[in-house]
Structures are given as C-alpha cells and as structure tokens.
C-alpha cells in the first residue's frame, strides 16, 4: 500500500535568511498512523507541516499527499486535511458555536447537517456550557478544545496537530488525548507535533525526530528507546540525539 504522504529530498530556504530550514527531508507517513513529528525549536517542524498543507512553497524535492502533487495542485487536498495550528486560530469576537459554524460553512456544511455537526463536536469536547461564549471570554482549555474541533468540522482524513495541548490543564489535556486516540482508531491519520515527550511516547505509534532541517531518527517509540542504549524513555532519547544546547 503506497504511503498517504511521501516527502522526498525536501529543501526550503526563507527569503532573507541564508540558512536552509529543511535540508533534504525524506519521509513517509501511512494511512491510519498516529505520527509524531518531534524536534527542538527551529528544527523545521512547523515549516514541514506548512509545506505538506500547501501553505508554503518549497525550493527542491517533492511532496505527494494522497497521490496529489502538492507543488502543482495543493488546493486539491484542502478538503482532505484538517489543520489545528499552534495558535488559537479562531475569531475572538465570535462565540464558540459561531466559529464552528463559520468553518463548517467554509467546508460546505449547511442547514441541519451543519447544526448536527456543531452539536456533535461541542458534545465530544464537552463545550455545551460554553458554546455561546465569545472566544475572547473563554479560558485557555476551552479555546484549545474549540480550536481542535474547528479543524475537524469537515471530517478530514489527515489531521495536522501542532502542539494542541500547549498551556491546557490536565483535564482538558486528558480529554484531548482520549479524543485523538478515538479519531485515530476510526482510521484517521494524525500528524502530531509536541514538546511533551511523554505525550508523544504514549500517543504516537511512529515518531520522527528532526533537527537542523534533517531527519535524525525515525521509528516506533519503543524502537527509538531500544536503539539508544542508556535511555529509558523518549525524553532521554530526544536529549541524547539533539543535545543539551539551547536552540533559541
């Protein structure tokens, strides 16, 4: 079975910055995987995700998502992917429900179907009592949960999650984990970036660590630990491979 996402020799340099952000990344992600993309700050994770989602152009290499060449037809995957960015990508003056309605309508949901979908997602992330609140008046946990489901309104096949649990309490974090596992169980492919190693170790069935624009390790969490003697968890593997030097 061909990979759902195939990245070959991907290179990217930003204008005005002579340093190459991605230096020939090769990567394959298969359907149904809970894929962890780890790396220190400025390693190139967000750039890589942005390229796969068609948000950024790249200099060299190729990116194919669900048999679509992103360099040529990036718009064709718009309905196929769901992006949950690191920032709260919601309109602060709109309520939780209005935000979900807007993104649902943008994906072609209308009328009763839209209403049912909103109700379903609000229920899944337990936002029933906060649906009428403006985002600007919501707590960090509510914003994160709303941000998550706003990217899922159109039931995408590939879900990109860029640090979705950043700054949330244990309860919200737990709810998000459970829901993501459920989504993955239903066949969705999840590409997940995080700085919480324990989170990645528990959730992901395969992990790639990138540093300085290059893939430096790839495998299941247990393989990565096994292949790095002296390491008992993913956190230790990460420090061993990327070093202790601060990156930003």
């Amino acid at each position: 079975m061909p990979p759902l996402i195939r990245i070959s020799n991907l290179k990217k340099t930003y204008k005005g910055n002579p340093d190459q952000i991605l230096k020939g990344v090769d990567l394959e992600i298969h359907q149904g995987e809970f894929f962890g993309l780890l790396g220190p700050n400025a390693a190139g994770k967000t750039t890589l995700i942005s390229i796969i989602c068609g948000l950024l152009k790249f200099d060299e290499g190729s990116v194919v998502v669900n048999n679509v060449d992103i360099a040529k037809h990036y718009r064709k995957i718009n309905g196929f992917i769901g992006l949950i960015p690191q920032e709260i990508a919601l309109y602060p003056t709109l309520t939780v429900k209005e935000n979900l309605a807007f993104f649902g309508e943008m994906h072609g949901l209308y009328g009763q179907k839209l209403k049912n979908t909103i109700d379903e997602y609000i229920s899944v992330v337990q936002l029933e009592h906060h649906a009428g609140k403006r985002i600007s008046n919501c707590s960090g946990g509510i914003k994160r949960r709303a941000n998550l489901v706003a990217g899922l309104m159109h039931d995408p096949e590939i879900i990109f999650l860029d640090e979705p649990t950043l700054g949330v309490d244990a309860q919200s974090m737990n709810l998000i984990y459970e829901y993501l596992v459920k989504l993955n169980g239903s066949g969705k492919t999840i590409i997940y970036t995080t700085h919480y190693m324990k989170e990645a170790e528990n959730l992901c069935n395969r992990i790639t660590i990138i540093d300085d624009g290059q893939v430096i390790a790839n495998g299941t969490p247990s393989d990565l630990i096994k292949n790095n003697p002296g390491c008992t968890d993913l956190g230790q593997v990460f420090i061993k491979l990327t070093g202790r030097e601060l990156r930003d």
Partner: protein
C-alpha cells in the same frame, strides 16, 4: 455564494461586536464635521500667500479696466489670465472654465464701464452742489449696467471668496474715488470758494477710513496731490470728525442716496451649468469633504481585521479551506463597503438636519442626480476599501497598520483638499493631489452637490476610483499567492 454569505456574516458579527470601533467609525466623523463646519462658519481666513489664478476679461479697455488689472497684478495675490491656449478669453469660455472647476475666479470689466462710472461721477458731483430747483434729473445711460462682474467656482470656500471679494472691493473703491476726484477737479472753477475745502477734505477722509489693506498706501499717495497743503495725510481717519457749519450745509446738498450709490457696481455670480440650481454653501462643500475623509478611515478596522487573521493563526486555517482567497476578500469588501456607505448616509443626514439645527445653516441639498450620487458613493467606498486592503496586506503589525493608515489617510485627505482647497496649494502639491483617491472622491461629490454634475462629468473620477480599487484588490491577491 454560500461561502461568501458565511464570510459576510462572520465579518458582520465581528464588526458589530466591536462597539468602541463602531463609535469611532460613525460618531467621530459626525463630531468632526460639526466642529470644523462650525469653526469655519465663524472664522474669517486671511488670503493666503499663494498666488491664485484669476481669469480677466477686459471688454472696457479704458481707465477702469486698466487700473483694476494693474491693481490685481500689483497685489501679488493674483495671477491674471487673459487668454487660454493662445485665445483671448470671452465671458462664455471663462464661465465654462470656472464652472468646470479649472479656475476659481473670473472678473469681467463690462463694455463702457469707465464711461459709465465717469458719467455717474459727473452726475453725483452736479447733484452735490446744486440747489433743489436746479437739480439735474437726467438719467445716466443705463442705471442697470453692471460695470464689473465676478464669477466664482461653486465649490470655492466662503472664506476664500470673502477675502477675494473684499480685496476687489477695496481696489474698486480706490478707482472709484480717483474717478470722482478727477471728475470733480476737472469741473471745478478756478475761483472756488475756500469754504468748499473742508467738506471735500472730510469726504476724502471718510473714504480713506473705509480703505484698508493692500491698496491704501497707493491710494493715499495718489490722493495726496489733491489735498490742501495744511492737511496731514498721516492723520488717523477715525479721529477726524465731520465738521461742517450750518452755513455750508445750506450751500451744499449731500444726497444720501447718492452717497450709497457706488459708481462701480460689482455683480457676483457663481459660474454654473445651465440646469444648476444648488446654491453653494459651506455645508454643500464640507459634507462630501469630510464624508470622504471618514470613509477612508475604514483602513483602520479593515487592515486590523486582516492583520488579526494573519497574526492570530486564522489566516493559515483559512488558507487550508476549500475557498478562494478572493471570496474571503469579497466577504470583507461587502461588509466594510456597507459601513462606508452607512457613514456617508449619516454624514448626509448630519448635513441635512443636524448642521441646520445646531448652527442654523442652510441644509445640505443632495440634488436630483441619484444615479450619479450612487455611483460616486459606491466608487468612493470601493476605493477606500482598496486602500484598506493594501495597508492590511503590507503592514506587519496592528500598530504599523494603525499609524501608517491614519497618517496616509491624513496625507491623502490634505492632498485631496480637505483643509485647504487644491487650487490654493503650491504647484507641486497640486500635482501630487492628482494621485489622491480622496481627491477623486471629493471632486465627484462636489461636482454632484455643488455643480449639479452628472455621470458624464464625474465619469473620469469614477474610473480612477474603481481602477484604484481593482488594482488594490489584484495586489492583495498577488501578494497572497506570492507569500506561499
């Protein structure tokens, strides 16, 4: 279409929930127009140093026209234009040029003006010195002849018009006195009674008292030769009191009617098209000017909305949506253009009801050419939106957009003639004003409100406004594509 409707709804909700923003958008322009119009109504602005073009048609070719032309040139305020494109000016050409806004003032010295004024002077002198029984009742050639006609651009500011009229009146008054004096002394017998000296002196002083400003010195010098040796020209006219003995009063009859009857009458007109009926007022001028100013401030919320999306992550999410970016932009355009139009309506209401109510000014007359008005409103709103799109596309932060946007609106508005009419600006600024969309909008509205112009007249400006909008939209789209 459903996508567009969803975006419009989203933008609309965002706008109406920003209460302070709405207050700024709608209330501030109204306060501005009330404050500025009120101030302008009461303040008299001095004539500016900048030379103004003045069309001059000399149909007299005599002493009067030559003296007025000479005076205008010497004043340093006017650049006297007697021909356009090598052709001598006639009244119709001058009126058309002024009505179209190419020039602001035109002065016509009508045929026979000098002779008419001299004849009136002779008559006045005769009447002043004759007894009741010998009063000369003969009529002058034509009492209704207007010796001097002045045409103004209907959009000219009242303060500027007053300044010009005032200067012109002073100049004409000096010419008038010179004609009287010349006529008087020509007619005076050599053995004139010494008693006459005092009333003549007083009359001259009264005339001098009226004269101030640029022509007074010249007048004093010229009149000096006619005055008795013991008369001091430096004496303050206000201190001199009319001191005529009863005997003299009996001998000389001063006819009050004649005192008030100027030799040279000025006929003031606004140069207008054939069907023009709207009287230009401060309200007619200020409402479109400040409406445009307010409309262009849409740049702040519009650019702010675009930057919020860019900086807070929604921009990236939007870019993964199966919706074209132009649809996203159109959603914004619909909402913010509606705000601009609502602003305009409020400004018009202010001009029609609030200004008359508060200051007792004549209400705004929007004329009857509604298609032209609608086109001007939409085109101006779109141009304002275009400017907002540009700022929102290129600014990196909210403060950058806010500060740059505000200053640019101010600069474009100044160039557009919001504070000082374009015709009074120095030449380089007048050239620069041609590229201000605010000016294109203001000119369109002034043409409709003051000149009763139609689509044909405002067409070029409407094209400029819409081309500016389309270019701005294209630049925003291209930048979006290039950013990838």
């Amino acid at each position: 279409m459903r996508h567009l409707w969803a975006i419009v709804t989203k933008e609309f909700i965002q706008v109406i929930r920003d209460i302070p923003g709405l207050i700024i958008l709608f209330l501030m322009p109204m306060v501005l127009i009330l404050a500025v119009t009120g101030t302008q109504e009461n303040a008299f602005k001095e004539l500016y140093d900048n030379k103004s073009d003045m069309l001059f048609i000399d149909n007299d070719h005599e002493y009067l026209s030559k003296t007025i032309e000479d005076g205008l040139n010497k004043s340093g305020y006017f650049h006297v234009i007697k021909e356009i494109n090598g052709k001598p000016l006639d009244i119709n050409t001058a009126q058309n040029q002024i009505a179209n806004g190419n020039y602001q003032i035109g002065i016509v010295i009508n045929k026979g003006a000098t002779e008419f004024a001299k004849e009136k002077a002779r008559k006045r002198i005769r009447k002043s010195f004759v007894t009741d029984s010998t009063e000369d009742n003969s009529k002058t050639q034509d009492e209704n002849v207007k010796t001097v006609s002045v045409f103004y651009d209907p959009t000219i500011r009242d303060s500027y018009k007053n300044a010009v009229t005032s200067s012109l009146e002073r100049l004409i008054l000096s010419v008038e006195i010179k004609i009287i004096l010349n006529t008087f002394f020509e007619a005076l017998p050599k053995e004139l009674n010494a008693q006459l000296q005092q009333p003549i002196k007083t009359y001259l002083l009264q005339q001098l008292e009226v004269m101030e400003g640029v022509f007074t010195d010249e007048l004093k010098t010229r009149m000096g030769e006619y005055l008795p040796a013991d008369f001091k020209i430096d004496a303050k006219p206000r201190d001199v009191k009319f001191d005529m003995t009863e005997d003299i009063r009996k001998g000389i009859k001063f006819n009050d009617d004649l005192e008030n009857d100027n030799l040279i009458s000025i006929d003031e007109n606004y140069a207008q098209g054939q069907n023009a009926v709207i009287k230009p007022t401060l309200v007619q001028n200020n409402v479109p000017v400040f409406a445009l100013f307010a409309m262009f401030f849409i740049v702040i919320p519009l650019a702010g909305s675009m930057l919020t999306e860019r900086t807070e992550g929604t921009y990236n999410r939007i870019r993964t949506l199966p919706v074209k970016y132009i649809t996203i932009l159109w959603g914004k355009i619909v909402v913010y253009a509606s705000i601009c139009l609502l602003q305009l309506v409020l400004m018009i209401i202010t001009g029609m009801y609030l200004l008359p109510l508060i200051y007792g000014m004549p209400p705004l007359d929007i004329g009857s050419n509604f298609p032209a008005l609608l086109c001007a409103a939409f085109s101006s709103a779109f141009a304002a939106i275009g400017f907002g799109l540009l700022v929102g596309t290129f600014a990196s932060t909210q403060s950058q957009a806010g500060i740059f946007g505000s200053f640019m609106v101010l600069i474009l508005a100044i160039l557009g003639g919001i504070f000082l009419p374009v015709y009074m600006m120095p030449e380089p600024l007048q050239v620069a004003s041609n590229i201000s969309p605010v000016r294109w909008g203001i000119d369109s509205f002034l043409d409709i409100f003051v000149r009763e112009a139609g689509l044909k007249t405002i067409g070029p400006n409407l094209i400029r406004l819409n081309v500016f909008f389309i270019l701005s939209l294209l630049i925003a789209l291209m930048t979006f594509i290039r950013r990838k």
